[in-house]
Structure formats: C-alpha cells, structure tokens
Amino acid sequence: MWLWFHKLSSPPYAYRTAGLVRPWLFWPAILLMIVGAVGGLVLAPEDYQQKDAFRIIYVHVPSASLSLMIYVVMAVAAGVGMIWRIKLAHAVAAACAPIGAWFTVATLVTGSIYGKPMWGTWWEWDPRLTSELILLFLYLGYMALRASFDDTQRADRASAILAIVGVVNVPIVKYSVVWWNSLHQGPSISKLAAPSIEGSMLWPLLIMMLAFILYFGAVLCDRLRGEILRRERNASWLSESLARS
C-alpha cells in the first residue's frame, strides 16, 4: 500500500499513470452523460409545478456538489503536500483549482438561468447562491496567490496554507450565510429515507452525478499531466520519454 503510494508520488510514474487512467474516466463519463441527459431531458416526467424548467438540475446539482467536493479534494491534496512534503500532491492541488472554479461558475450560471423563470430574477441574494459566489472568490484567491509567486515551491506551500484555512472556513461561511432567510428550496436528495424526488427523476440525476465525477477525474488527469510537464520541464526522464514517443 505504502509502496504504491510512494511510487505514485514520483512524477514520471504519475505522468504515465494519469495518461493511462484518463481514457477510462473520460469515455465512461461521456457515455453516462448521454444516458443521464436522455433520462433527464426526455424520459423523466415534467414537474407538476416547475414544468420543464426543473430539468436544469441535471447540470446544476452535479456542478454544485462537485464545486464543493473539488475544494475539499484540493485542500486534502494541499495538506498531504504540506505534511509529507510530496510535490505531486501540490501539483494535484494546483490542478484542482481551475476545474473547481469552472464548476462553480457553471453552478452559478445554471442557477441563474433556473432562477429567471422560477423566481423572476437572474440573481437572488439567497444563502446558497451567495455561499457559492464566495466559494468562487476563494478559488480565485487561491489561484491569484499561486500566480503571484515565481518560485513553484513557495507557491505550493503558501497556497496550501490558504487552501487549508479556506476549507476550515467553508462550513463557517456556509452556515453564516444560511442565517439569512432563504427562498432556495431545501435539499431534496440527501433525505435518503423519504426522498422528495420521484424515482424516474432521481436516477438520471445520480447518473449525471457519477458522470460529472468521472469527468472531473479525467480533466484532473489532463491538468495534472500539464502541471507535471511544467514542473519537470528540465528533467531528463521527460526528454527521454518524449524522444521515445
């Protein structure tokens, strides 16, 4: 187990592994997305109150949960990098940030599109929207801090501290913002015992969720490879493997 862990933390091995794993994540993600899209947009019945507009949840909800999940992944990777001084973990954290930021943007945009017909406004200062916006600021701050150092190692460690401070703060931000009164509907799938969403609407959502997670994995592999290339641009293994291919 530890041997595997140490092996994976060596850049050449990780570079190759990410390249091998990527198609196994990417194509299933695309396949599941198609299945989920057909299930959600065609097969699922229309909502008796929200009509067809509810169908945007098949993009909105997976994006929203990923935007949070990626922040946690990023902070954990940063923490691993800080504690065990594994450079590759820092590379993973660096690769996570832009993906998470884009999922946050996707969440905000789809939420806004949903809000227009449902609530009559593009933007509502409601807790979930606001905390999602603050999450975007956290991502942007992380990337800005990273970009402001010339030295990659210092950028890694400084931004790792920010990611850890941020992840401690995310629940606080979340619950402080919930303090306002909300018109956002409560979560409807976390109540597993008695889901307030019907089965025919639920399964495409779960499939979409899985598809998005796999897609995140695939993009992370790509970005991680890019990050490794940038960091190891002077390494001999890289020029050798490029010469071979």
Binding site: I134, F137, L138, A144, L145, S148, R154, I161, S176, W179
Partner: protein, 233 residues
C-alpha cells in the same frame, strides 16, 4: 545549558516585550495609526453623498455601512503589520529565535488590534450617530466591533503573513482575506441591525465570540506557517 536558562527571559516576558515594542513604535509614528481611522470616517462619509442625505434612509443602511467601512479600514491597516519587520530582518531573527513563532505573531496581532481595531470601536458610535443611528445601539455596535475586529485582525494577519513577500501584495491580500471575513461581517452587521429594531442580539453576539475564540486559537498556527514560508528565500 545552565547559563542559557538564566539569560533567556520567560515566554510571558517576551510576549510583553513584543507588545510594548509595537505600541512604542506606534506612538512614535502615530500618524500611521491615525490613517486607517481617517479612512474609516471618509468611507462612511461617502455613503450620505452617494445615496441620500435623509437620515431615515441612512439609518437603515448604517449598520452595514459601518461594518463594511470597518472591514476595509482594518484591511488597509494590515499592510503595516508585518512588512517593516520582514524588510529590516527582525522577523528572520524571530523565526530563528527558538521562541514559538505563533505566539510572537499573536502578540504582534494583539498590538495591531489595540492600534487599529480599538480606535474603530471607539470611533464607530460617533460616526454611527452621524448616520442617524440611535444612541441605544451604541453598546451593541461597540461590542460587535470589538469582537469582530479581533477576528478580522487574526484572519488578516494570516493573509498578511502569506502575502508579505509578494510584490504589490495589497490587492491580493484583499482578494484572499475578504471572502474569509464575510461571516464576521454578516454576524456583526446583523447584530447591530437587530439591536436597532429592539430585538435580542445574544445570538449573533455569541456567534461573533465563538468565531473570535476559534480564530484566535487556530489562527496563530496558520500565521506562523505562512510567515516561515515568506521569510525563507
């Protein structure tokens, strides 16, 4: 070994030295202490000019205005928190001194709060009155600012320690610190708002206290880790 024990002063004494040194430095450069305060007053003056001179309207937004202005003023003051010491090498000596850096930085942050947070607490009721805030709200306003600016100082100090070695770190500092400070703003402004409507304020005040204790207990470790990265190069 014996001699080093005798010559090294205790931790309490060291922290007092840090505190008094910063306070003495501030007294000698008192204009730097005054600047964030003047900024605070100017920002609050902008709102009547921009929105309306009618006190009825200003009263409604006064908690938010005061709190946002206080947040920006504390942000502005952060620039001078660590930078001089890092630039003249004092901070390097602290890192090497073998004393717990987190506590040294916490003492420094406390001095910083006494110089920038406390004046805001004292100034806010006066400015609030100018915005039409009733006198009965003064204690609550002062209490929220006293608790809140403490949290702002600690969070800001983490950001300042992270960005102190970055060229033109000011804007970056704001970008990093402001999102993290939003809970403090929410509870602080909400408490004042509740007080103005004569409602109980214990809830947000307790939460502000909890935030302050949380940040004070964990923040110094983040500060110290960030400062070590900033100083080594």
């Amino acid at each position: 070994m014996q001699s080093s024990v005798q010559t090294t002063p205790g931790l309490g004494k060291i922290l007092m030295l840090v505190l008094t040194r910063d306070l003495r430095l501030a007294v000698r450069h008192w204009d730097q202490v005054l600047q964030p305060l003047i900024f605070f007053v100017i920002v609050t003056t902008l709102f009547p000019l921009a929105i309306s001179p009618a006190l009825d309207e200003l009263r409604k937004i006064s908690p938010g205005v005061l709190w946002v202005a206080a947040m920006l003023a504390s942000l502005l003051a952060l620039e001078s928190l660590f930078r001089p010491d890092v630039e003249d090498g004092t901070m390097e000596q602290w890192v090497l001194s073998g004393q717990p850096l987190s506590l040294l930085l916490l003492a420094k942050t406390l001095a910083h709060w006494l110089l920038t947070g406390l004046p805001l607490v004292l100034m806010a009721p006066i400015v609030g009155t100018a915005l039409g805030m009733p006198q009965s709200v003064w204690p609550v306003l002062a209490a929220t600012l006293a608790l809140g600016t403490g949290s702002l100082s600690v969070l800001g100090a983490i950001g300042a320690a992270l960005t102190v070695s970055v060229r033109r770190g000011n804007v970056l500092l704001a970008l990093l610190v402001l999102p993290l400070e939003m809970p403090v703003l929410i509870f602080g402004a909400r408490a004042v708002d509740l007080a103005m409507h004569g409602e109980p304020v214990a809830g947000p005040l307790n939460l502000l206290t909890a935030l302050l204790l949380f940040f004070v207990s964990l923040g110094p470790f983040a500060m110290a880790a960030a400062m070590r990265i900033s100083v080594e190069s």
